[in-house]
């Protein structure tokens, strides 16, 4: 039997350790204007949201602005959270919409992949390539994907979010999430050496 790798790999992922009940209690307090509860929630979500926004938008200089726009909505709109999804899903959905808005404001296309051939040229399988170099190449390959594809990869691999929740976050059907992941993996596979573990 193949062990589900997620459990063993939690240390290197962004899986959130707080329970949904903790988050729901915090949101209820935020809705009543509890400033300390909001600060607790902000600090708990800051690392994950910052990473998600940075990996999705590829705009490090915009990360804190987008993150604070997101948490501003959380603070002032906490009373609108209706419990129909996890708090984390609700917050990530706001972050995704704010990220899309920021990208539209700087005229970044949301669907098209960019510069993928250029990355492919650098990604020739070379066994002498150092680990850091390969990771850089992979990072560039992921960067070359569209924001929609990057978001699915990041939410799946790092944040360990199930595909039906990703669909809720991104406001699209479940099949679209699977299709975007399939497309992203196919493009990445075309760029990278077949046996990454030889070098990683």
């Amino acid at each position: 039997m193949f062990a589900r790798p997620g459990a063993a790999a939690t240390a290197q992922s962004g899986a959130y350790i707080a329970t949904g009940a903790d988050d729901a209690a915090l949101i209820a307090r935020v809705a009543r204007g509890d400033a300390r509860a909001f600060e607790t929630l902000y600090r708990a979500y800051f690392p994950r949201l910052a990473r998600f926004i940075e990996r999705t938008t590829r705009r490090p200089e915009l990360v804190e602005e987008i993150l604070n726009d997101t948490m501003f909505v959380v603070s002032t709109g906490a009373h609108k959270y209706d419990g129909s999804s996890k708090v984390s899903t609700w917050i990530f959905a706001i972050a995704w919409r704010k990220s899309l808005k920021a990208l539209r404001d700087v005229d970044v296309p949301l669907e098209a992949d960019e510069g993928i051939e250029a990355v492919a040229d650098e990604a020739e399988p070379k066994h002498e390539v150092m680990r850091a170099q390969l990771r850089r190449v992979l990072s560039e390959a992921v960067d070359a994907l569209s924001p929609n594809h990057r978001a699915v990869i990041e939410l799946t691999y790092f944040h360990e979010i199930a595909y039906h929740e990703i669909a809720q976050i991104m406001g699209c059907p479940v099949d679209t999430v699977k299709t975007r992941m399939f497309h992203a993996r196919r493009r990445l596979k075309a760029l990278l050496p077949e046996r990454l573990e030889d070098i990683l």
């Binding site: 039997m1 193949f2 589900r4 790798p5 997620g6 790999a9 290197q12 992922s13 962004g14 209690a25 307090r29 009543r32 204007g33 509890d34 400033a35 300390r36 509860a37 909001f38 600060e39 902000y42 600090r43 800051f46 690392p47 910052a50 990473r51 940075e54 990996r55 990360v63 804190e64 993150l67 604070n68 948490m71 501003f72 603070s75 002032t76 390969l134 990771r135 992979l138 990072s139 992921v142 990869i153 990041e154 799946t156 691999y157 790092f158 360990e160 979010i161 199930a162 595909y163 699977k178 992941m181 399939f182 993996r185 990445l188 596979k189 990278l192 077949e194 990454l196 573990e197 990683l200």
Partner: protein
């Protein structure tokens, strides 16, 4: 969910579609069992699984950390006044109920701290009374009347940093004259006429957990 009956060709596609979430451990039990069963019989899909694991490991590299304090300060300045001000006593009481009561150990810890501070307060007051009783009553006419400072017991939040401690003390006009006690409390001294203001000031500070006047008439 009932067991799936699929032919091998369609199973390849379905399994590969689910592999990213299988690797991340976020499939439900039935889906996970379906993928697992297929992998045991399919070497090609096992190869895909290995590639998927490597891709995930390479993706999950750490990014440079960011300054959460600076970012939070920037957002706090934007929030409506009601959402950044300290809570009213009614909200504090409700927050205390929600935070402390579900965690009995925290309640006991606070009770122990409060008891220790109470014992300390009684000991200090009785020591002062005793000292006053034993002290000579003779006072030279030329000696200026000494004004005894008022004393307070204060407990700071455990994570309070020195800079914050200094700011709170300067703002309240008090200074530390003893401590930390066994309960991690400090004795502060303040000019008697500033006692009430200092108590109010300290109680408004986020880093102060408890303020108690040690003056005999204190009802602070």
């Amino acid at each position: 969910m009932s067991p799936r009956v699929v032919n091998l060709d369609s199973a390849h596609g379905e399994v590969r579609e689910l592999l990213p979430w299988f690797v991340a451990g976020t499939l439900d039990e039935a889906e996970s069992r379906f993928v697992d069963t297929h992998l045991q019989a399919c070497a090609a899909c096992r190869g895909e699984l290995e590639w998927e694991r490597q891709l995930r490991a390479a993706n999950n590299v750490a990014l440079p950390g960011r300054d959460v304090d600076r970012a939070f300060a920037a957002l706090r300045a934007r929030l409506p006044a009601g959402r950044r001000e300290t809570m009213s006593w009614r909200e504090r009481l409700r927050a205390w109920r929600e935070n402390v009561l579900p965690r009995p150990w925290l309640g006991w810890a606070l009770a122990a701290q409060t008891t220790a501070i109470g014992i300390l307060a009684v000991a200090l007051v009785s020591a002062r009374v005793q000292t006053a009783d034993e002290a000579p009553t003779y006072r030279a006419l030329s000696r200026p009347v000494a004004v005894e400072p008022a004393r307070l017991v204060v407990a700071f939040a455990p994570q309070t940093e020195v800079a914050e401690l200094r700011r709170v003390l300067l703002a309240s006009g008090a200074r530390i004259v003893d401590g930390p006690t066994a309960a991690d409390a400090y004795i502060l001294a303040v000019a008697p006429e500033r006692l009430d203001a200092a108590v109010q000031q300290l109680r408004a500070e986020k880093s102060v957990l408890l303020v108690q006047s040690l003056e005999a008439k204190a009802a602070h």
